[in-house]
């Protein structure tokens, strides 16, 4: 088995060396970054981001965008938390209500963007505000005392892994399978590259993104319910506040083009890991608050620069071996 690193893979995913360098740096400066407890903590904290970033990435690849995920997250948390605390709802009913709330938001976004044809930026910015207000109106006071059944969602261990991490892995696997193994995956890319060309090729240019809006809404609400379960409390005003920016950052840093048509799930997962590691590492090192903000901003700019350079580096990495092959084959006489 070869252990050499493929330069084309590294060029395609420039975040890999960045993440490795960050991990080494944080470990050397703190001595506790690589501890299993800390790594598991990063994975658990990043799980909810991954659950939402993955369907959001598919939506962006198809040329659309959902900025309302932060508020949908809050609505999902409130719906599940309300049922658990006020009516003693069990795990399944709480998750179901949360998913229904998310699907409803996704359906509104999907209808307005895909069927009516309004701008996804404007529509989802509107629902971001409206859904937050709805969540706050529904539960102005904090919800607590959820009971053991609902606590399982965020606190259980499955095969030694925290349940949020397992759910995130499932979301990644399902989305990966859809993208790689089904015609829908190719349709998502096709719509993102050219909606007209996709339509003329017989692709359902409304149904596919509409379904992705539903999936994004459902996943955002599920992520909210998971976090409510982890915390054992929901504050409708602060839950998921700014989450939409974290999701969009993970998607874009992961190499998905905002213009649609390109991006990979591996890149998105790396984007999520990058943000989680950066947040954790800066706190571990004890960087003061405002310098953390500066460092996060700079790291994002560097990551965005790498994402910009990635296709060029990949093209270069693909051209060089061919050129090298041509050079080495020149002295050999033609066989024809």
């Amino acid at each position: 088995m070869s252990t050499t690193v493929n330069p084309r893979q590294l060029a395609r995913y420039p975040l890999i060396p960045v993440i490795v360098a960050m991990a080494i740096g944080f470990e050397l400066s703190t001595g506790s970054f690589m501890g299993s407890q800390n790594l598991l903590g990063i994975a658990t904290d990043s799980a909810t981001l991954a659950i939402v970033a993955v369907p959001s990435a598919l939506l962006v690849i198809s040329g659309y965008l959902d900025l309302s995920v932060g508020s949908t997250y809050a609505l999902g948390a409130v719906a599940a938390g309300w049922l658990a605390s006020e009516h003693g709802g069990g795990l399944l009913t709480c998750v179901l209500l949360s998913l229904l709330a998310g699907l409803a938001v996704g359906a509104v976004n999907g209808f307005l963007c895909c069927v009516v044809g309004l701008s996804p930026f404007i529509v989802t910015l509107g629902t971001l505000t409206a859904v937050r207000g709805l969540a706050q109106q529904f539960a102005p006071l904090p919800l607590t005392s959820f009971g053991d059944s609902f606590a399982w969602l965020g606190g259980a261990k499955v095969a030694g892994l925290p349940s949020p991490v397992v759910i995130a892995l499932l979301v990644v696997l399902v989305a990966g399978a859809i993208l790689a193994l089904t015609p829908v995956g190719r349709h998502i890319y096709a719509i993102g590259v050219s909606r007209e060309a996709a339509y003329l090729s017989g692709v359902r240019v409304r149904t596919v993104p509409f379904t992705l809006f539903l999936a994004t809404g459902a996943c955002a609400a599920l992520a909210g319910a998971i976090k409510a379960s982890v915390l054992g409390a929901v504050q409708s005003g602060t839950a998921g506040s700014g989450f939409e920016l974290a999701v969009l950052t993970a998607v874009l840093v992961g190499g998905v083009a905002l213009t649609g048509g390109s991006g990979t799930l591996v890149g998105v997962v790396l984007g999520v890991a990058f943000l989680g590691i950066l947040q954790n590492g800066l706190t571990l090192v004890g960087v003061p608050t405002f310098w953390q903000q500066v460092a996060q901003g700079l790291a994002l700019v560097v990551a965005a620069g790498l994402a910009y350079l990635a296709p060029r580096l990949e093209a270069l990495a693909a051209v060089r071996p061919q050129a090298a092959r041509r050079t080495t084959s020149e002295p050999t006489p033609a066989t024809t």
Binding site: L141, L231, N280
Partner: protein, 340 residues
């Protein structure tokens, strides 16, 4: 030629318009009060003149807002006035704009919680000049009819002192402390200062292992987990809000700490329901510097009405104490009951 004439006409029109607008701006600037101190002579002469109180609270996303709003609404109904509320989204510029709208609308009374106190002197002066009662919430301004105060620094100080006394008694004054703070808005900065200064002064041998920005449970959970990765033996976690302290508490429990661990102290500020329930249960969430929601809610209505009835700033103003509640305190049950 025509194009040249057209261009010069356009330029003349442009100059005329900009000149006009400039003159109007200058005139309005000249007519502004020369001093920021307004007289407030035209204030309503009786509480019967006040049929509406506008309450401007910028942090509507905080749980404490809903609690105070509930009691303010009840009191307004009781007194026969209507309560108007703004939505500032936690932004000082939106707050100023909303206040300008209220002043233009000539509501009889405004109770405002300035995000940046100095920045609202102009609005307060404008309101007083327009005959509107201005009550400053959470502090005082130079231009005001009265104020509803509660010292944020004192709340932080009470929590810091209690935690330090606990650390001296239970840890011999030696251990590790992490602070979950807010360095972004005035009330947060005051609470942070009170909390850290009081704690470090009374427990100077405690090692400070973290000072992280966190006001909500989610952020606090993530930050405390990271602190615990490096310092798994943290003894004390103090939060700028109960939301933050709640996140810190969850991180400690997730790391395997028993909920009743005798060597751990978590404390917060505000008096949120979830935190108060943990205190009542006897967990290591031991204290909260709690606001008295009912008293504050009542004051939002009572203070402007008192001004309307002719009371002076000193007579109408009220200071609502922030009380540190702990397990066994009678006030603990009372505040929990206030949440309904």
């Amino acid at each position: 030629m025509n194009a040249v004439v057209k261009k010069s006409v356009d330029r003349r029109t442009f100059l005329a318009w900009t000149g006009g607008i400039g003159a109007a701006v200058l005139a309005s600037a000249c007519s502004a009060p020369s001093s920021t101190k307004a007289s407030g002579d035209k204030v309503a002469k009786s509480s019967k003149d006040v049929d509406t109180v506008a309450w401007d609270y910028p942090f509507t996303f905080l749980p404490v807002y809903a609690g105070v709003a509930k009691f303010a609404k009840e009191r307004a109904k009781e007194k026969g006035v209507s309560l108007e509320q703004t939505n500032d989204n936690g932004k000082p510029d939106v707050q100023a704009s909303n206040l300008d709208t209220l002043i233009a609308k000539k509501v009889p009374a405004i109770v405002s919680f300035p995000m940046v106190f100095e920045a609202l002197e102009t609005q307060a002066a404008k309101a007083l000049s327009a005959g509107i009662i201005w009550v400053t919430y959470g502090g005082t301004l130079e231009n005001q009819s009265a104020s509803i105060t509660f010292s944020f620094e004192e709340g932080g100080r009470k929590l810091g002192e209690d935690a330090a006394a606990w650390a001296q008694e239970n840890l011999g004054g030696k251990g590790k402390v992490a602070f979950l703070v807010d360095d972004t808005i005035q009330l947060g900065i005051e609470r942070t200062k009170g909390m850290i200064d009081a704690f470090t002064a009374a427990a100077p041998d405690m090692e400070v292992v973290g000072r992280e920005q966190a006001i909500d449970p989610d952020t606090a959970l993530t930050k405390t987990k990271a602190i615990l990765a490096k310092h798994p033996d943290v003894n004390v976690v103090l939060g700028i809000t109960d939301g933050a302290a709640f996140g810190g508490y969850k991180a400690l429990v997730e790391s395997g700490r028993s909920e009743t661990d005798a060597k751990t102290y978590v404390g917060g500020q505000d008096g949120d329901l979830g935190s108060l329930e943990l205190i009542k249960k006897g967990t290591f969430y031991r204290a909260s510097a709690a606001l008295q929601l009912r008293d504050i809610g009542n004051a939002v209505i009572d203070v402007p009405l008192a001004v309307a009835d002719g009371k002076s700033d000193a007579e109408a103003s009220t200071d609502v104490p922030i009380t540190l509640v702990k397990q066994g305190d009678a006030l603990l049950d009372e505040i929990i009951a206030q949440y309904g």
